[in-house]
């Protein structure tokens, strides 16, 4: 009996009228946890009932505490007939199970009904008493902290990064059970909500267990997804990065340098003033910055660089130690050494950790994957490029004898027949991950960072996708021999400045996994760099960048014949590589057109519909100073003899050149002119990535002769030979320009903007377009899709014009094909204002903080032999194509996946083949769909800002800010209160009356925001960071006047204070008025 859950129902307000006769309501409340239910008294004839109930006590297992939500149902008492439900509140009590998070949940919660939406509010108090020491549990994983944030959360220090954790659970979807035919939509929706809540809880518990096994205490970059597979069931899966986090005491400025490149970053942690603030309870910041004097607080060994005594402490720092001066002192040793070393080489910085490596106990880990996208400086050594894998699978029905039984939803026990189900799904993901791993290896990398997984499902076909960035992490943190690429060592000996080191190629230049053009780094001149770099991670804060960044999107539609089953899956698999290739070409063209040479935060989404595939690639383009200047784009005609054509080409060429020049100006890309330096190793096929050269030999030979005035090097050649191609180029050139005063990016950090002010406006926008024309061509579809995305961005700029100058950050587009004729695009982003005058002011040299440096990690080392054949499949530092088809297996197996053909063979010639095919199919035009990438400076740091504060007059509602970023400008996060992971269903049978589909979805999204805010406020928080809308499934049937929508959102509830404040803003649970308002409107 490890826990006691206590709940008290205080009051309700704004209840709906349930009794037409009296225009009043006789409300009472049922409080349910597990199988125990309590009831309050009926509060007769009131729309604002005061129950003030006793404390309802539930004595439960901690396992249940983790899995189950507390369910509060508000009902209207009816003497003669059944009581009518008004609505429900599900309260996830997980945050209470972690002693560092919230201690009580108390506040007003919207009462939610899946048919009517929010119907009044209820004030609830929840507490948990845990009896045992948390660490002793092994059935449960109470106490493991979860973070959606994909960097080390501020106010924590990573003592150890253990690595990848994943889990999935499977169940039947209640919507598809037979009982659904006889129950009300409300009952069905509630069953689904409850089931998903349970499954999420269980998933989190299981992941927590894995983390505990690894010796960690937290999961960072926790990404949980639902796969609504329809009749074959419901999959909830999650991945994350297990860490051991130490909390910095709340007095410490929480800026974890790895993700808070604040303008005055050195001040919080390393400023001279910190010297004065020492004292026993003071944590790190109190440490002296000079290495010569022993830290006053350190009771332990002297901190010399060599001794770095904290080896074991580092890895196994007890949780209790973190706040105390003692352990802080110990760990600070290396740190302070480091401070001195800022002028020294990165190598030396790293070297101080070397002694720790051998001592550490490593857990062997199968996948060296990290869901993090931002790392402490010096941690990421080299970045190889994007690795991705996709797999098309057929979902098979569950042959489940239990189907049809009214089983309890707690059927996640592995004895049931569905038990083998998760294993099938596990195996699928396993395959994909293996692929990713081999790709990384082929790129000479031993780890994958910025890793994520996703699915797209249409009927019974499912595309599983995974992508990440192959990288080399500091080998000093790793177990001996964990690098199976034995060659790299010499490179690590070379000191690489942090501002360019990550760009240096990780692979062997004599044995390159793919053809690319290497040059010596334009920054340090010591190492080779590729000409273009694509990654899925955030721009490292210390990276040297020229000018500003901007959002770059590639968009693509491909028609597909309607088909069933295996045929359909084959068709999709056949289309996938072409789509990836075209998306990639588009990205490349657009990147060149903006005169940029690197992409960060690349996310390629491919969605399947019945008769089409949609591809959307979004990334933030930047000009990395270390990489060579991109060449221009050259247009070439296929029929050189035609004079009019020549003329036309010249015109286009001129426009392209003008655009490039203009973009250089807009994005302030003025790289220092370098004397022409030697191009690296001989390159057989320099621009292999762009398949549309006249010929490869030609392009490689003639590059130097082309005078394009954009670069010394070869230009990217586009060939036009038909009208389609002309249109494509036109659309490339007619990119809508971003209005003055706006910037955009899809990453956290935007170079060129360093002084954020505090106004933030998070928003979600959803558009669905119905294709009216039945005979659409690929071209027509592309145009529609592109316009759809562009118009969305235009709308944002218009709506947010009052915030100028402002940057749209973390623009996250999600596309779907909900029905045959529909294209759905959902966007969540945040607009943040900045101070225009100082945008160019680069933050002062960023100091390296101790948190960053003490960041050892266990990388799993998989020394199994490299999958050699895979290297051929990697195309540049870019996406590579990989696909295989799963077909329906023999009957007894639910879904057997079959590799089509011998894969390796195919892939070795894959690029060749692709090139050929593409030529045939598209007659040599470069698919350059017009883009409206907006340029945008990428934020590299934030300055403290004047936050406009406005008291919320007599209001009793806590203002809760929300952002998809891991920080709020101008504020400091002082406490993480727990993860928010909520799933809602809303359904209506009176669509017209609710304002049509737009009205319906508008109010639903507003309701979801309201419920998130209410939960955060009840936990005592005033903000949500790393917010994301993972799922937005919308279905309509206008003929029946019906619609249904499912939304899944997640984020981290936090308390943040103004950067200047030392004390937390009083944010008493639920009834406080915090003095912040979003400045935007």
């Amino acid at each position: 009996m490890p826990g006691k859950l206590k709940a008290k129902i205080v009051a309700g307000r704004h209840l709906p009228v349930m009794d037409r006769a009296s225009d009043l309501t006789d409300a009472f409340v049922e409080v349910k946890f597990g199988n125990t239910t309590f009831k309050t008294d009926v509060c007769p004839k009131s729309l604002n009932p005061q129950w003030n109930s006793e404390w309802f006590k539930f004595e439960v297992d901690d396992e249940d505490l983790q899995d189950e939500p507390l369910q509060v149902t508000v009902l209207d008492h009816d003497t003669y007939s059944a009581n009518d439900a008004i609505g429900k509140v599900y309260i996830d009590i997980d945050p209470l199970l972690c002693n560092e998070a919230a201690s009580v949940i108390s506040g007003w919660f919207p009462i939610y009904d899946t048919i009517h939406g929010i119907r009044g509010e209820i004030n609830v108090l929840v507490k948990v008493e845990l009896f045992n020491d948390l660490n002793r549990f092994r059935q449960s994983s109470c106490g493991v902290k979860f973070f959606c944030t994909t960097s080390i959360p501020r106010c924590y220090r990573a003592a150890m990064v253990h690595g990848f954790v994943e889990e999935l659970v499977v169940n039947e979807d209640p919507e598809y059970q037979w009982i659904d035919r006889i129950r009300t939509p409300r009952a069905s929706n509630e069953a689904r909500q409850r089931l998903i809540s349970l499954m999420s809880g269980e998933l989190q518990r299981k992941i927590g267990l894995k983390v505990l096994e690894m010796g960690g205490n937290a999961v960072v970059g926790y990404l949980q997804c639902f796969d609504l597979e329809g009749e074959s069931g419901l999959v909830v899966r999650a991945i994350g990065t297990a860490c051991t986090l130490d909390k910095l005491s709340s007095g410490t400025p929480a800026s974890n340098a790895c993700n808070s490149p604040s303008k005055d970053g050195k001040e919080p942690v390393f400023g001279e003033d910190l010297l004065s603030s020492s004292g026993p309870p003071t944590p790190f910041r109190a440490l002296p910055t000079s290495s010569s004097s022993p830290p006053p607080l350190s009771p332990s060994k002297p901190c010399s660089r060599q001794s770095s005594s904290s080896d074991t402490d580092l890895s196994l720092t007890p949780k209790t130690g973190m706040g105390s001066g003692g352990s802080a002192g110990k760990e600070a040793g290396p740190l302070k050494t480091l401070l001195r070393q800022q002028t020294q080489t990165a190598l030396e910085q790293r070297s101080m950790f070397s002694p720790t490596v051998s001592d550490r106990v490593f857990y062997l880990q199968e996948f060296p994957f990290f869901t993090l996208t931002s790392f402490p400086p010096g941690f990421l050594v080299h970045v190889g490029g994007v690795v991705s894998a996709r797999s098309v699978k057929l979902l098979d029905r569950i042959h489940n004898p239990a189907l049809g039984n009214t089983r309890s939803y707690k059927l996640l026990d592995w004895n049931s027949v569905t038990a083998d189900e998760p294993e099938t799904r596990d195996a699928w993901w396993e395959e994909i991950r293996q692929e990713i791993k081999s790709h990384a290896k082929a790129l000479g990398c031993h780890a994958v960072v910025g890793y994520s997984e996703s699915t797209s499902i249409c009927e019974e076909v499912c595309i599983l996708s995974a992508s990440g960035t192959a990288a080399i992490l500091n080998p000093r943190y790793m177990r001996e021999g964990c690098l199976d690429i034995g060659i790299v060592d010499h490179r690590f000996e070379d000191p690489s400045p942090p501002s360019c080191g990550f760009c240096h190629i990780p692979y062997d230049e004599l044995n390159m996994p793919f053809p690319t053009q290497l040059t010596y780094c334009y920054h340090c001149r010591r190492q080779k760099v590729p000409d273009v770099l694509f990654t899925t991670i955030d721009l490292p804060p210390e990276a040297a960048v020229t000018g500003k960044g901007c959002l770059i999107q590639a968009r693509l539609c491909r028609l597909k014949k309607k088909a069933q089953g295996e045929v359909n899956a084959t068709a999709i698999s056949n289309l996938l590589p072409f789509m990836e290739y075209e998306l990639h070409t588009q990205l490349m063209n657009k990147l060149k057109l903006r005169s940029m040479n690197a992409l960060f935060g690349l996310r390629i989404q491919i969605s399947i519909g019945e008769n089409m595939l949609l591809g959307l690639a979004s990334a933030t383009g930047v000009y990395l100073t270390a990489l060579p200047a991109p060449g221009g784009i050259q247009i070439a005609g296929k029929t050189p003899g035609d004079l009019s054509n020549e003329h036309h080409i010249l015109t286009i060429q001129k426009r392209i050149n003008d655009t490039i020049a203009k973009n250089k100006e807009i994005y302030q890309i003025n790289p220092p002119e370098l004397t022409e330096e030697v191009v690296g190793s001989p390159i057989p096929e320099p621009r292999q990535r762009s398949r549309l050269f006249r010929s490869h030999s030609e392009s490689s030979d003639e590059v130097s002769e082309l005078d394009l005035s954009h670069g010394k090097k070869d230009a990217f050649v586009l060939e036009i030979d038909d009208t389609d191609a002309v249109e494509d180029i036109h659309s490339l050139l007619t990119d809508a320009t971003i209005p003055t005063g706006f910037n955009s990016c899809n990453t956290e950090i935007m170079p060129g903007i360093y002084n954020w002010t505090s106004a933030v406006q998070m928003f979600t926008s959803v558009r669905v377009f119905r294709l009216s024309n039945a005979n659409l061509t690929n071209q027509g579809l592309n145009k529609i899709f592109t316009d759809l995305c562009e118009n969305l961005l235009k709308s944002f700029y218009f709506k947010l014009r009052s915030m100028i100058p402002c940057c749209l950050c973390h623009l996250n587009f999600t596309v779907a094909v909900p029905e045959e004729e529909l294209i759905q695009v959902a966007v969540t982003a945040v607009a943040m204002t900045y101070d225009k005058d100082q945008t160019q002011e680069k933050p002062a040299e960023k100091p390296i903080t101790k948190e960053q440096l003490q960041f050892p990690m266990e990388l799993c080392a998989d020394s199994s032999s490299t999958n050699t054949q895979l290297s051929s499949k990697i195309s540049g530092s870019l996406t590579h194509f990989f696909f295989f088809l799963s077909a329906r297996g023999p009957p007894p197996l639910p879904a057997a996946s079959v590799d089509y053909g011998s894969f390796a063979d195919r892939c070795s010639t894959w690029l060749e083949l692709l090139r050929l095919k593409a030529h045939t199919i598209r007659r040599g035009s470069v698919k350059t769909i017009s883009s409206l990438e907006r340029s945008s400076p990428v934020p590299d740091g934030r300055s403290r800002s004047l936050r406009s504060t406005r008291g919320f007059g007599g209001s009793s509602v806590t203002v809760v800010k929300m952002t998809p970023l891991s920080f709020l400008p101008g504020t400091r996060i002082i406490k993480y209160l727990g993860i928010i992971n909520m799933f809602f269903i809303r359904e209506t049978t009176s669509l017209r009356e609710e304002g049509g589909v737009s009205g319906f979805l508008h109010s639903f999204i507003a309701e979801v925001f309201a419920m998130v805010r209410a939960h955060v406020a009840a936990l005592g928080g005033n903000a949500v960071v790393s917010y994301s809308m993972k799922e937005c499934v919308f279905m309509e049937n206008p003929n029946k006047n019906q619609a249904q929508c499912l939304i899944n959102v997640s984020g981290d509830a936090v308390i943040c204070v103004r950067e200047t404040d030392q004390e937390p803003v009083p944010s008493n649970i639920g009834q406080t008025c915090t003095s912040e308002t979003d400045g935007a409107t």
Partner: protein, 366 residues
């Protein structure tokens, strides 16, 4: 690009004041888009008509969703659905309850009933205020009326507290409620020249001086008594009864002559219209006193403003009095009554004439 579905939801609810006004004014989405385009917002932000349409639709939807909260503005502050900064809440409420003078002039003093609501399309056509906006304004009047009708305490204060309105707007609503409650006739042709603000001023005078609440100076502690003291939606019945006593001023011939000579003495040489004043004194005095004496009749209360115009303002105007003449005359007319030995109703007289004086000043347009 016509969208099947198109929504934009901000964590902080985004509201454009210009669009809000267009919505309040009852513009359809397409008309609102036209107005916005003409306003030049497009050039300003490089937007297209599509963008403008989509934005307008979003905002209209937001306002529609907010509308039910605006019915009881206090809810806006503690609802959870929309996160709206307080200053914006105040703007939303104030604008929602704002009304067109032209419209209110039409319904002032009318019963706020379904019958009147049916006539709104006529009013809309007449005033050029869209029917939608007319309905909103009418419903606002009705809503405020229903809430404060039965409430104790000062009318203006009640309105301000329940609807979180500014002082000015609360006073205007008090006037509307007061007029509706007493059904003052304002629609007659002869009254057409008067603006809403003229009537609102008069209503303020009546509320402050002629209602039960007006005399209850002390703040009563228990509710029973406060009911008596602080109902200022209705005129003070006792006072109306007492007004009958004033009749003596016109029925007693001596008193009337005495009054006239006092007034004439005081006015002589001070105004060009002296002759007319002298000639008309008895008529005018009879008019005013008769109005007072008849106020016990509900019907005559309704005709209060008509009577003022017919019995006093029109005769004066036909005699070409100036506003200054009017002031002078009424001042002396009121004050001279105090000197009359046999006239014992000084308090009632002052209470009556104070209001009459200010009303007539306001209603007498040069």
């Amino acid at each position: 690009m016509a969208m099947e579905l198109d929504v934009f939801v901000g964590n902080t609810t985004i509201m454009d004041e210009e669009v809000y006004q267009l919505w309040l004014d009852g513009y359809t989405v397409s008309d609102a888009v036209k107005v916005r385009m003409e306003g030049g917002v497009m050039e300003e932000c490089e937007a297209s008509a599509d963008v403008l349409l989509s934005d307008t639709m979003d905002q209209y939807r937001t306002f529609q969703m907010c509308e039910r909260l605006l019915y009881s503005p206090a809810k806006l502050a503690n609802q959870l659905l929309f996160q709206i900064p307080p200053h914006r809440q105040a703007i939303l409420i104030e604008r929602y309850y704002a009304f067109d003078d032209a419209f209110v002039r039409e319904v002032l003093g009318k019963k706020l009933s379904k019958g009147t609501k049916k006539d709104l399309d006529d009013i809309s056509a007449k005033t050029n205020v869209t029917l939608k906006s007319c309905r909103r304004q009418f419903d606002n009047f009705k809503r405020v009326f229903k809430v404060v009708e039965e409430l104790k305490g000062p009318l203006v204060e009640n309105i301000r507290q329940h609807f979180l309105l500014s002082d000015k707007l609360a006073r205007d609503y008090a006037a509307i409620v007061f007029f509706a409650n007493n059904r003052f006739e304002t629609g007659k042709r002869k009254l057409q020249y008067l603006t809403f603000q003229d009537f609102a001023f008069c209503a303020g005078q009546l509320i402050n001086n002629w209602t039960v609440g007006a005399v209850g100076e002390q703040i009563p502690t228990d509710h029973q008594r406060s009911f008596r003291f602080y109902m200022d939606v209705d005129l003070d019945k006792e006072f109306l009864q007492e007004l009958k006593e004033l009749k003596i001023l016109i029925t007693d011939k001596d008193l009337l002559d005495q009054h006239k000579s006092l007034v004439c003495t005081a006015l002589r040489g001070k105004t060009k219209a002296f002759n007319e004043m002298e000639a008309n004194f008895k008529n005018l005095s009879r008019g005013l006193v008769n109005i007072a004496a008849k106020l016990t009749n509900t019907k005559d209360v309704r005709d209060f403003f008509i009577d003022l115009v017919e019995k006093f303002i029109e005769p004066c105007r036909s005699d070409r009095w100036t506003a200054a003449d009017m002031k002078l005359y009424l001042t002396h007319y009121t004050n001279s009554a105090h000197i009359l030995d046999t006239f014992k109703h000084q308090v009632v007289w002052d209470r009556y004439m104070g209001v009459i004086k200010s009303c007539i000043f306001k209603m007498f347009h040069d």
